[in-house]
Each structure stands twice: as C-alpha cells, then as structure tokens.
C-alpha cells in the first residue's frame, strides 16, 4: 500500500512544508504588527511572483502529502484497495490542488 515511492513523496513533501509553514507563521507575526486586514494581506502578496511560488509550492506539497496520508488511513481503516484506493488518493489530491490553487490565486493575482 505504501511502497517506497509514496513513502519518499510523503517525507519529501513534509520536509518542504516544514520550513514553508514556519516561514508563513513568521510573516504573519510580522504582518499582524500593523493589524490585519484583507487589504493589508493582499497588498503584500498580490502581484508578487515570489509569494505565488511560495504558496504554490506549499499547496502542491500539501496536496500530495495529505492525499498520501489520507490514503493510508483509509486503506488501513476501511480496507480499501486497488482502483478505489487510487481513485480516492487522486481525488483528495485534486480537491486540495483545486481549493489550494483558488486560495493562492485569490491572494496573489493582481
């Protein structure tokens, strides 16, 4: 169910996310010093390629990471296997990608 490829993907995405999450929190702490409003956030991020890449990476990583994580839980708990399991994994991955992408677009597109 979890062969070395999926295992490595889950670990690598975790390693990518770890600094990104920490960074995100750091920025937020810096940001809130002036009080937080939509405009504030958006002014900082909108139109910035750097933030696009930053959050884009996070979304890609978390989609993969969570999809694999949930895949394992579903397989172990409900004995799901084969096509159904692959379908579920891709579904979760897709959902995270879609919702994540919309969020990233919202905050970074000018």
């Amino acid at each position: 169910m979890l062969d070395i490829r999926l295992y490595m993907l889950q670990r690598i995405t975790a390693l990518i996310m770890a600094p990104l999450t920490l960074g995100h929190i750091a920025v937020m702490i810096y940001a809130v010093q002036g009080g937080l409003t939509t405009a504030e956030i958006l002014s900082r991020t909108q139109g910035s390629v750097v933030w696009l890449v930053y959050y884009g990476t996070f979304v890609a990583a978390v989609s993969i990471h969570a999809a694999i994580g949930l895949r394992v839980i579903i397989a172990e708990t409900f004995k799901l296997r084969g096509m159904a399991l692959s379908g579920f994994t891709w579904g979760v991955c897709g959902l995270f990608l879609y919702m994540g992408a919309r969020a990233v677009m919202a905050v970074t597109m000018p």
């Binding site: 670990r11 975790a14 390693l15 770890a18 999450t21 920490l22 929190i25 750091a26 937020m28 702490i29 809130v32 010093q33 937080l36 409003t37 939509t38 956030i41 958006l42 979304v59 978390v62 969570a66 994580g69 949930l70 839980i73 979760v92 959902l95 995270f96 919702m99 994540g100 919309r102 969020a103 677009m105 919202a106 905050v107 597109m109």
Partner: protein
C-alpha cells in the same frame, strides 16, 4: 479503544500524529476556502477577519495551530527516528524544540491579532 497492548508512549505518539494529520486535512480545505473568498467575495473575507477576532474563533484557530504544532513535532521526530543516527532522546528533543518554538510564536501571533 485503548487496548492493553497500546499503553505506551510510542503508540500514543503515533495516534496523536495520525489524529493531528487527520484534523489538518479537514481544516486546511476550510482555510483555503476562506482565503479564496478574497477572489470572489472580498467583503466576506473582511467580515471573516473581523469575525476572527472573536474568542471562540480564536480558540478554534489556536486549536488548529496546536494541531499543526503537534503534527510537525510528530513528523520531524519520526523522520529523525527513521533517518538520523542520533539517540532517540536527541531526536525527540530536537523535534520538541522546533514544535515548541512554533507553538510559542503562533501563540504570540494569535494573541496579537
């Protein structure tokens, strides 16, 4: 649920990691949804951010941050256990340090907003 063969620290660490992962997987799409409101309905996002000032929501936010801290701690500890030739204690300490720092800073952060 907690059968006798499970009553030891490592198993609790495992279940904590799993539950926090699960919790995050539920929360994150919600978080994404709220942010994406910026695209479609900026007004609602604004009202949400006001709403976020409320203690109950703060508590919820704190809960989720806590989940993330727990999960990061668990994840780093796991990867250290798997890959680093340190002693188990060193690994746990290192992961606790990161998670602790994370939790502390976000608590301040949540306090600030």
């Amino acid at each position: 649920m907690i059968k006798p063969h499970r009553t030891h620290a490592l198993w609790f660490a495992y279940i904590l990691h799993r539950l926090s992962g699960l919790g995050l997987a539920v929360f994150l799409p919600v978080h994404f949804y709220v942010l994406s409101l910026a695209l479609t309905k900026p007004a609602e996002l604004d009202s949400f951010l006001h709403w976020a000032e409320m203690p109950a929501v703060k508590l919820a936010e704190f809960g989720l941050v806590f989940l993330l801290a727990v999960h990061i701690f668990g994840g780093l500890r796991l990867m250290a256990l798997e890959w680093l030739p340190w002693s188990p204690n060193q690994k746990t300490l290192a992961a606790s340090a990161v998670a602790g720092a994370f939790l502390l800073s976000t608590t301040f952060f949540l306090q600030a907003i």
